[in-house]
Symmetry: C2
Subunit: 378 residues, 2 copies
């Protein structure tokens, strides 16, 4: 494997571990825009809005980080325009921490006419066909223009399945891009840069990726290339060895994950941060996560049900509405259905994370999901 | 014209006039669910929700009445189901006054295979083709099941244009239906029944309709059959004589109206209550009503505009967001665009009504719209 010249980073955002319970960690991250209690679930706000929610409501759920998508925002309204308008926090009226992805994942899944070279990815916009380049340097520039508290390195999300050689080549490209990301990142207090570990399901590659990333030095480390079709079992197996390669004193972020079950089992394995469109997307589709399992509110049996979605939940959807109303609103395609179901799902995710933090604090963390759901109902 | 037997109604909701300024009136209506300051704009909540708004937000704008649509609710989720679930207030989480229309207007504009007889209207649902009857008795029953504070008589909204004979026949049918509505309405304290004056643009018919309606005796009187294509000039001309036929001591409701301009000019002519989909529908379409006129937020010039929609407005859309953000959100088809633009428009309508009430209290009411907009900016 090739050699690159590394340099150590200055710590730009603080992370402290408050308690450890086996591998699970209770921590606190401090960015320019506030405290993030970990394990944390970050709400996805792709285009400058957590879909169907007011930022005030997002905050009310206990959410401390919103994720913005570099790919979407660079195309519309453009990072330069957001910078001119005072940055993404002001633009979208979210004044707590913002994490932005690097665009690397979405350029591969959404853009047209993609071409990857050592330099980066050239592509055509899915909106208007205009030509663009995303490279480590451009990704850092965009995330800087947005004013992101936590910037992600530009990487290639290795496809699944990938042969060892494919995974190795992809991981090495991500390493070279990580170094360029680090060099291009403008360091300033309160703002951090996270590296992304690749290597697919191969322990040897994950270990190499992690070691080299740590040598470059980042404020946190993401595990990338998971939740891309490998299934929960293989994802957890990969986490089992992958997390051990990461430094204790830095936050660990599992990108794009997941179900409540995934979150519990990954926290148990030492992951500190998550993001996923699941609660918001499911909400817009009439699916609710509750302390008694998933509910498809479209099911006919909900049409006459006076009960709330989740009797233990204190969100407005559960406090003020019956399942019958939500069923009606979804069937009638009313916007309030998306508003309420999304709010509930984000609330549920945050209540779950809060419970996990509580359990870690008491050294009672478990990966027995049913036990945790019981505690949530208690 | 035929003779029918009338009986006097008991006053079931109180209405008091606080001040008169020429024809304009400052008043207060009291229903089971609270005070309604008039002149009042009622937000339309067709299917049990003011589209794209939480009821708490609707209330925050100063809205005191939400309108529910009998036609939509009888079909989905059905009035019987709403009654089983505790009534429309509880179902939709709106605990102030609800006014329901009779279904008469929408059955003619939305239903399929309509057939009008003396008994009522048989029709097929636009949702699933199921067969239904709307009659004065059934309309009263539905509105009772919903728990509506203000019930509207079942009437036929006379088409426009209509010959004198067509308008006369239609108005007489509405009179007979009004009597049957009154007989079927279950009177109880805090709940009222409003009659609807028809007669198209013919003074003689409007006068007859009004006189006969007053003989039946209602808690308020609506002017129906306007804003159906006759244009503002003819609408105001009709109001000019029509309002004089109505009793002083009862609220007057101009159905389905209108633009800010329409509201000002109608209040000036003695109207006390309004409802219209305009602020909500326009909001979802990216159109804002402001103190400086209408804004189409899609226009390219808004893309870089740091200014709020309306610098004098205190709604969340104006306090927390630039036109540039709203432009972006509309273009990106984000739900928050509908949420914010609707909120702003309802807020603007309520701010306007509040200003009109203030002007009437000071005997300064005018139908010079530009002067009133100036005062709103002041």
């Amino acid at each position: 494997m090739e050699t690159v010249v590394y340099f150590q980073g200055v710590i730009m955002i603080n992370y402290k571990i408050i308690n450890k319970d086996n591998k699970a960690r209770l921590g606190q991250l401090e960015t320019k825009h506030g405290i993030v209690d970990t394990p944390a679930f970050m709400a996805v706000g792709t285009q400058g809005t957590v879909k169907a929610m007011m930022p005030e409501s997002v905050e009310q759920t206990g959410t401390q980080v919103v994720l913005g998508n570099t790919y979407h925002l660079m195309l519309r309204p453009t990072a330069e325009r957001i910078a001119d308008l005072g940055g993404l926090h002001k633009f979208m009226n979210w004044h707590k921490t913002i994490l932005t992805d690097s665009g690397g994942f979405q350029v591969m899944s959404l853009a047209k006419l993609r071409k990857i070279t050592e330099k980066g990815v050239t592509f055509s916009s899915h909106i208007d066909g205009s030509k663009h380049l995303l490279s480590p340097e451009r990704s850092m520039e965009i995330q800087h223009l947005l004013g992101s508290d936590i910037t992600m390195c530009f990487d290639e999300c290795t496809k699944f399945p990938a042969t060892f050689d494919e995974a190795k080549a992809s991981m090495e490209l991500s390493l070279r891009w990580a170094l360029r990301s680090k060099e291009a990142f403008i360091q300033r207090s309160g703002y951090g840069l996270f590296g992304i570990i690749q290597g697919s399901i191969y322990p040897q590659l994950r270990e190499y990726s992690a070691n080299e990333m740590v040598k470059i030095g980042f404020d946190g480390y993401a595990v990338g290339g998971l939740a891309v079709g490998e299934g929960q079992e293989m994802m957890l197996k990969t986490l089992d060895f992958c997390v051990d390669f990461l430094p204790e004193n830095k936050p660990r972020y599992l990108m794009g994950v997941g179900t409540p079950d995934d979150l519990i089992k990954s926290v148990y394995r030492g992951i500190d941060m998550f993001d996923c469109v699941m609660p918001t997307r499911a909400g817009r589709n009439g699916l609710a996560f509750t302390r008694s399992g998933k509910i498809n509110i479209r099911n006919a049996k909900n049409a006459t049900d006076e009960a709330p979605l989740d009797e233990h939940c204190h969100c407005p959807a559960c406090k003020n509405y019956s399942r019958a109303f939500l069923h009606h609103a979804v069937k009638a395609k009313e916007i309030i259905a998306s508003m309420l179901m999304t709010w509930h799902n984000i609330q549920f995710y945050q209540d779950l994370m809060n419970k996990l933090r509580e359990l870690i604090a008491k050294n009672e963390m478990t990966d027995d999901c049913e036990k945790i759901f019981e505690k949530l109902r208690g």
